[in-house]
Symmetry: C2
Subunit: 240 residues, 2 copies
DNA sequence: TGTGAGTACGTACCGACGGTATGTGGAACG
DNA sequence: CGTTCCACATACCGTCGGTACGTACTCACA
């Protein structure tokens, strides 16, 4: 509440558009950095704004000047962590053309990302509860989910199957969920490397199944064409 | 804060072991019921203890007599919702012997459960953040995850593959994650029935792939035998 | 049937936290 | 050199989770 020194951590030497705005931007970054650290270590609920502003050596006035509230700070941190991870993944599978190899590569890269405590806590654990599922999805859509969707799409298209956007999204959701859950189990494992290897084997096995379907020329049953009734592929009793 | 009438909602007519304990049990149930409703509709953070005790027509003294705090109330609600869902699923697939059909049946039943706002909000959205991932996993382990693990195990064993417990757990984690994510997308969809059908198709397709692997006699690469080093199945560069 | 004991609450209160209203000092600009 | 405006600082409020303590009612036992 009573910072002794100047607000910003590091003062820029290369004034671009006025020192004022440079200071402002750096304090904002400082706030985000401190918040990221605290959110990652203690979680959202256990992190107070006082702790954040104290860590950034400013007061709440500064925080509320840059952000509309605590949730807005979290959103900024979330986006930073999320985009950082997705950039890393994207860089990891750059250059690879074969869809199947790309899938394995992306999986491996994702499993590495999920080891980061910040990603686990901010994105996976606290993200849905703090942002709500709508915002969470919306943010996710623009980064990691887009990557998965691209990979899944290329794999399935490489499989020779034609699927509409809805079906592609459905497959992607399934794989994203599988990845998060598996990734989470990897990160909490006693031996992350071993757990990671298991996940790779399991996912690779599932992918292999899809590849077999491709070679066998099995058709992908087309999704419902917006017909009112739900049609089950096999038996009866589709309650609810 | 100032309840007018008696504490309990309904007074029991069949005294079993003293009226006192009957009253006590009913107020506790009332607290859990009200909390379930509020947590489901507004979420954990937006629900105050005052609102809960007001809804149950008691005071905070009563709440803190039965629970150690807000989180304990949430745990009780969580367990109630979770066991209710897993019981429904278990009942739904009772009698079915064929593992593959059982898997589809369980999937369908799960997709129905996930439509329940209480399950979505309490278990999927707020659960991990409030309980923390350790407790969340622990609770999950004893209900829905156990079901999935049983089904996955029977499917894979029916496939003729031998897998150790770790590998079974890994596969189960993957499927649980896939199910939650897919289920969540179903519940937030404009047309849940259509989305549900899509998920069924996609998951059925993936299962079909595994069945093809079985028929082709493809071996499941065995997991690492607790060797210190992680061995990747295909290429090099297993960073992280 | 009185009486002590223990339980199931109610009451009053505290500290912490998120958020707000307002003050202020210095940089940018004329 | 004065004005303006922005980037903060200061002081304060309402609410919430949690606690300490009081109390009425019930049950065992005489």
């Amino acid at each position: 509440m009573t910072p002794k020194s100047s607000a910003a951590k590091l003062l820029p030497k290369v004034p671009g558009t006025g020192r004022r705005q440079q200071y402002s931007a750096s304090t904002k970054r400082a706030l985000i950095d401190v918040a990221e650290s605290l959110f990652s270590n203690q979680g959202y609920a256990a992190t107070s704004l006082d702790a954040i502003v104290a860590g950034a050596r400013v007061t709440k006035g500064a925080l509320y000047h840059h952000f509309s509230g605590k949730q807005a700070v979290f959103e900024a941190v979330f986006e930073k962590v999320e985009t950082s991870a997705s950039k890393r993944i994207a860089k990891g599978l750059k250059g690879e053309k074969d869809p199947w190899k790309k899938a394995i590569l992306g999986l491996r890269e994702f499993l590495a990302c999920v080891q980061d405590p910040a990603y686990r806590r901010v994105v996976i654990q606290d993200g849905p509860a703090v942002l709500g599922y709508e915002k969470f999805r919306e943010r996710e859509q623009r980064s990691s989910f887009a990557l998965v969707q691209e990979i899944v799409g290329s794999v399935l298209n490489a499989g020779g199957w034609e699927l509409d956007d809805e079906m592609l999204a459905t497959f992607s959701r399934i794989f994203v969920g599988a990845l998060s859950s598996a990734g989470e189990s990897v990160s909490t494992s006693d031996d992350p490397r071993e757990a990671s290897a298991r996940v790779e084997i399991a996912m690779g096995f599932i992918l292999e199944g899809l590849r077999m379907l491709e070679q066998a020329g099995v058709e992908l049953p087309s999704g419902p064409r917006s017909a009112g009734k739900t049609q089950a592929p096999a038996d009866e009793s589709t309650e609810a």
